[in-house]
């Protein structure tokens, strides 16, 4: 069989209102695999954004290896100044540039293909892309020339070169323009009646992500513009506590964009790899709404041991609101695997309690990446996150390695891995190129997942012994006293190094195979993609 079977391809009984969509002549093609419409303008910008995402992933990935090898005590690779410089580069290139370029690509794809619409504005797409790219390059130039050793959080009074803040602002405004273009696309699709009834679930999730993105980027503007003006000596230094409060309105909410985008990708991959259909759409959509409503106040869990914000504020913001957002994740964590189970059982894999799971397409990298992402995010990420967000537990976790241990299971083992799985379909379907060395592609999600899980667990254990994050030397050379961490903590730091190397290999395989496929892969134009 050489085509992927997409169960439940649009039924004749539910034709979209305006089947031809609103595309100008010649501006649309029909996907040879799925039959879905692809807007050619959107396709170009999906490609551009996705390619830049992978480029920055490479920069972040090489940085990751260097960091892992420095925190591995017996290797301790980088000198002190370069450790912090590379740490700054890693955080920004990964968390901001890789993830957000990818998300803009997803928004354009969802807005056009799933809603059967043209992209609202080519000019906006270009402006957005140009600003994001300029911003990202400027930030990297500042960081790598040593003019912004401030970590991605750039907590005042740490001060970087104005170019750094300018780069961040350019990138954020560029993203905002991309998001606006997406909303404009949703609007014209509705206006031109290109689909009937409610938007598809994956589009609903993307809209949720985009709404959170707007709120997030506004926080970004509120905090980065004063920092920029201060770096130019035009205004006084922003207050440190105020900066942290607003910065986390940006920093935490952007994680919820990632979660909403990741969950949408889960629904997409679950469907395309197993034919899964959600049991109850009202439940899935309701859960996305919970994200929008309740995530903002959960930013408070970054300030649980801060001065200046009182206990009542901390308790209210973290407990009440946070758990409704947690509820949303618990719902998706049920509905997504349940839909896969149902689809597999329908196909006849009905033996026992877990027969469907064993029979799942584990050799399909789109499926394995999605399912591993679900497990890592749901179990490790969710449990560590809820734990760390508890007021008292935060006292023993704040700024220790437990924190990076947590978020490498959410944004890396969760979001980034899901996005990799997505690429295994985006490249054949959008770039219309096939991956080579398919055996290697099949093992990639497992290698990456194993490395990240090992590293994240080791970080968490080391952190519970008190090992700090963002720290060059836990031998404290040159310090007046030495805390002398437990031997177990040192052992865990060795495992951090090993896990980092394994994860890096997984990452590199992904990047090399993807770049190869995009530029040199066998074309599949005119026929369906080769099934995984």
């Amino acid at each position: 069989m050489s085509t992927i079977a997409i169960a439940g391809t649009p039924q004749a009984s539910e034709p979209p209102a305006n089947v031809a969509g609103n595309h100008p002549a010649g501006a649309v093609r029909k996907c040879d695999t799925t039959g879905l419409p692809v807007c050619k303008t959107a396709e170009r910008y999906v490609k551009l954004n996705a390619v830049m995402a992978v480029v920055f992933l490479l920069v972040g990935g090489v940085s990751a290896l260097l960091l892992g090898l420095t925190r591995w005590p017996s290797v301790h690779l980088l000198p002190v100044d370069w450790f912090y410089r590379i740490l700054t580069a890693h955080g920004l290139n990964m968390l901001i540039f890789w993830i957000i370029f990818m998300e803009v690509a997803i928004l354009y794809f969802v807005g056009t293909t799933l809603l059967n619409s043209r992209l609202a504005s080519k000019a906006l797409a270009f402006t957005s892309f140009a600003m994001m790219l300029t911003g990202a390059l400027l930030v990297n130039a500042m960081v790598f020339t040593g003019r912004a050793d401030v970590m991605m959080t750039s907590y005042v009074p740490l001060r970087a070169h104005p170019g750094f803040y300018l780069g961040v602002i350019l990138f954020a405004v560029g993203t905002l323009i991309g998001v606006i273009n997406f909303f404009a696309t949703v609007y014209i699709a509705k206006r031109d009646h290109t689909y009937e009834g409610s938007v598809p679930l994956v589009a609903f999730g993307a809209i949720a992500a985009a709404i959170i993105a707007v709120v997030t980027l506004l926080h970004g503007a509120i905090v980065m513009i004063p920092a920029f003006l201060w770096s130019l000596d035009l205004i006084g230094q922003p207050d440190a506590a105020w900066y942290r409060l607003v910065w986390w309105g940006l920093g935490h909410q952007s994680q919820q964009i990632n979660v909403a985008a990741m969950v949408s990708v889960w629904y997409f991959l679950a469907h395309i790899t197993t034919g899964a259909k959600p049991l109850n759409q009202a439940v899935c959509r309701g859960a996305f709404v919970l994200y929008i409503l309740f995530i903002n106040i959960a930013s408070a869990h970054h300030l649980l041991v801060d001065p200046g914000v009182g206990a009542t504020w901390k308790i209210w913001n973290t407990s009440y609101a946070m758990y409704l957002a947690v509820l949303a994740s618990m719902i998706h964590g049920f509905t997504v695997p349940a839909s896969v189970e149902l689809a597999m059982r329908k196909k006849g894999f009905d033996k026992g309690l877990f027969g469907w799971l064993f029979a799942a397409p584990w050799r399909n990298p789109g499926f394995s990446a999605f399912f591993l992402s679900l497990v890592i995010f749901g179990f490790l990420g969710g449990i560590t996150g809820v734990t760390l967000g508890t007021q008292q537990i935060n006292i023993i976790a704040h700024n220790t390695l437990r924190i990076p241990g947590h978020f490498h299971t959410t944004v890396v083992g969760g979001t980034s891995l899901a996005f990799m799985g997505l690429c295994y379909y985006v490249v054949p379907l959008v770039f219309r190129r096939e991956y080579a060395w398919r055996g290697l592609v099949r093992v990639q999600p497992y290698v990456f997942a194993a490395g990240i899980t090992l590293m994240a667990l080791a970080m968490s254990f080391a952190g519970s012994y008190g090992v700090p994050r963002r720290h060059w030397d836990i031998e404290f050379s040159g310090a007046p006293f030495s805390p002398g961490f437990d031997a177990a903590a040192h052992f865990m730091m060795g495992l951090v190094g090993v896990g980092a190397v394994v994860a890096f290999i997984g990452l590199l395989v992904f990047i090399l195979l993807t770049v190869h496929a995009v530029f040199l892969g066998r074309s599949n134009e005119g026929r369906a993609m080769t099934a995984w």
Binding site: P278, V326, V386, A479, P483
Partner: protein, 175 residues
């Protein structure tokens, strides 16, 4: 399905095991929610965030007065102070040292004022592993009662420049 528009009438209440799961999850969230204030009242360790605005120079002056009044010696080049139990005591964070060394009495309560003269720092008490953010401009007040004698380290776990890893201080608790 997730890629096409939902069938008409998709808006309906959950049923069966899905409904059960949502119920269980919601109940669990409620338990967690109630645990937050419960532990705040029952638990012994809280971060109340008590803090007062202070200019770095004023804080430095208070620290200097406190050190002058209570100094008893020197350790690794840093002044050691032994304040009276029950009083207000001071710890100054600065690139890249904690000043002074505090000598406290077991089972006595102190109001510990911590602030920074320059960047953000974070107080990480080892090996207890208790962590509090320290900001310039804010006098962060921690009410502390040491319950075990011994020597404790304070490391900085907020990035504060190139010497961040050298920023280690000491608290000594005597019987």
């Amino acid at each position: 399905m997730s890629l096409t528009v939902p069938e008409k009438g998709w808006f309906k209440a959950p049923t069966g095991s899905e409904r059960l799961w949502i119920g269980l999850a919601l109940a669990w969230c409620m338990v967690l929610t109630l645990m937050m204030p419960f532990w705040h009242l029952r638990g012994k360790q809280n971060s109340t965030g008590e803090a007062y605005r202070v200019k770095p120079a004023d804080f430095a002056a208070r620290v200097a007065r406190f050190v002058d009044a209570n100094k008893v010696g020197e350790l690794a080049g840093i002044t050691v102070v032994a304040p009276a139990p029950g009083t207000d005591i001071y710890l100054q964070a600065q690139m890249w040292r904690w000043y002074p060394v505090l000598k406290l009495k077991k089972d006595q309560t102190y109001r510990l004022h911590v602030s920074s003269l320059d960047l953000q720092h974070s107080l990480s008490l080892q090996p207890m592993n208790m962590n509090f953010q320290i900001l310039p401009g804010y006098d962060h007040v921690l009410t502390v009662t040491p319950t075990m004698a011994g020597e404790y380290s304070i490391i900085c776990n907020e990035f504060c420049g190139i010497g961040h890893h050298m920023m280690v201080g000491r608290i000594i608790v005597e019987e």
